[in-house]
Subunit: 130 residues, 2 copies
């Protein structure tokens, strides 16, 4: 019974959004059924959001070969320490960089090889579309 109620809601929602109740209803139903959970797609897009900023991207490239302290990062990238620190927090939260204190300095490094893999594929994709 909650089943049929759900079906009814789907119908209503479908009708609400476009006049396509008569179009390809089975297709719509199938796509809905196969779609991953909304949490999954949200987590995925949140993950990619991290790469979707050129400052963060440049930080990741800078950390690709060696660990760097915030100070050197900011000097190398031409950003203030504050701006770098904000972005590093973002990257840390998303488990993309790791930090280590050494005296007054805090050194950051890449935490994950997936970063390199993902960027590699992106480079490949971009090199094909020119």
């Amino acid at each position: 019974m909650s089943q049929s109620k759900h079906e009814k809601e789907l119908e209503q929602e479908r009708a609400m959004l476009c006049g396509c109740e008569h179009e390809h209803p089975e297709t719509v139903r199938e796509v809905r059924a196969e779609m991953p959970d909304e949490n999954v797609t949200a987590d995925l897009s949140d993950f990619f959001k991290v790469f979707g900023d050129s400052s963060r991207m440049r930080i990741l490239f800078a950390l690709d070969r060696r660990e760097l302290c915030v100070c050197d990062l900011s000097a190398a990238l031409g950003m203030t320490k504050s701006a770098v620190s904000h972005q590093l927090r973002f990257l840390r939260t998303n488990h993309l960089v790791a930090s280590r204190r050494s005296g007054k300095n805090i050194f950051y490094s890449l935490a994950d090889d997936h970063v390199r893999d993902i960027i590699e594929i992106a480079v490949e994709h971009l090199s094909e579309e020119d």
Copy 2:
């Protein structure tokens, strides 16, 4: 001469951003030298920006197995046709989807296998961090 001028600018810029002239100047110089061109990092982050929105991510998942018209997409995802259309334009511009008109409908499909590769790695990454 323009060489030494450039060096001088670097010194100044470094000093401007943090008090680290005395810290690891060679490291900073090396990182600067190895950094990819600013255009490259900008293109990369622009590319990832496309994946950094849950609506676009859901559209990509919906298109993973079959082509769909805008109407069915909007019904399946619970978005207005207008919102879907705006996002499809974004995806089209970035060469991630292709479109084909058939009568009144315009069918969209994934344009590139890199999409699947990238999402796969992201899923892997996320499944490791729990």
